[in-house]
């Protein structure tokens, strides 16, 4: 189960609204390499993990990603507060606004709604861990790309924090992969699937 903690993992305090930036950043809420997909990916893959270290890793990182989802939601919310109709039009926020007003909705920067097709839970330790290593790098690139558009330090600060977390998670998943291969046949890691085959 989960218990809520009434705080963000890292503070988000944005003074100036910027609907254009909100529309870009929302991709980390519900886009292809976003935090919702990340948490669902890890929390779903856990069940097929045969070893405790990997169950722990996926539970904890999947949980942290939910905290990141909340941070992105807070960023988008604060960037779209008190907007005038002129700001909405000038910021190109009209297409989002007509469907969601200023509600936070999981979609990509291009407006594509979230889909579970963004993630995989393959039931194979090595496959899932490689998926996760790639996912962390894809999210890191997305944050790098977001930072190209950000000149407000109030926004850059929490985005940089989230970018760093992708790198740390990548490191932990790499260690998880090593722990997994250490337990497999060193001459053929693919001799059997430890998530499925009994050995």
């Amino acid at each position: 189960m989960w218990q809520y903690e009434k705080k963000l993992q890292y503070p988000v305090k944005i003074k100036n609204p910027n609907p254009k930036l909100a529309q870009i950043i929302i991709t980390q809420y519900g886009g292809p390499d976003g935090e919702l997909g990340a948490s669902l990916r890890y929390l779903s893959q856990r069940f097929a993990m045969p070893w405790a270290e990997l169950k722990g890793l996926l539970t904890d990182i999947g949980t942290e990603e939910l905290g990141h989802l909340e941070m992105i939601g807070a960023i988008v919310y604060q960037l779209t507060r008190n907007l005038s109709m002129e700001q909405i039009k000038a910021g190109g926020f009209d297409a989002y606004f007509v469907d969601h007003t200023t509600g936070v909705y999981p979609s990509s920067a291009a407006g594509v709604p979230f889909t579970a097709a963004y993630l995989q839970s393959k039931g194979d330790v090595l496959t899932d861990l490689h998926e996760n290593l790639a996912a962390e790098q894809k999210a890191r690139t997305t944050y790098d790309n977001i930072l190209r558009f950000v000149d407000d330090p109030d926004v850059a600060d929490p985005i940089k924090f989230l970018r760093e977390r992708e790198i740390v998670h990548y490191q932990r998943f790499g260690e998880g992969l090593r722990l997994a291969t250490d337990r497999l046949d060193s001459k053929n890691f693919y001799a059997f699937n430890p998530s499925f085959d009994k050995k």
Binding site: Q3, Y4, K6, L8, Y77, R172, E175, G176
Partner: protein, 83 residues
């Protein structure tokens, strides 16, 4: 920055260190140095959390009820309401 925010940031910094150690210990469960640091930060987090909750209300729904739990600000609220 308000006193509340300053204390919340100190708590968050300590919790972050504790969490980093926790993640690390998933893949290095027998690292004694990390285990000792984890213990230190556990104590620090408990102290700061107690101080915060006493002054500004519960962080956990298991610790507060009604008006106490519902009081502003919520984590995504940008405005500071105390001095």
């Amino acid at each position: 920055m308000s006193k509340r925010e300053t204390l919340l940031r100190r708590l968050s910094a300590a919790q972050f260190a504790l969490w980093e150690l926790h993640l690390y210990l998933n893949t290095h469960p027998t690292d004694l140095e990390a285990l000792a640091m984890h213990e230190q930060y556990e104590v620090k987090c408990a102290r700061l959390r107690g101080e915060y909750e006493e002054k500004y209300g519960p962080l956990s729904p298991m610790k507060g009820e009604g008006a106490q739990w519902l009081q502003n600000p919520w984590p995504w609220d940008p405005t500071e309401d105390d001095g």
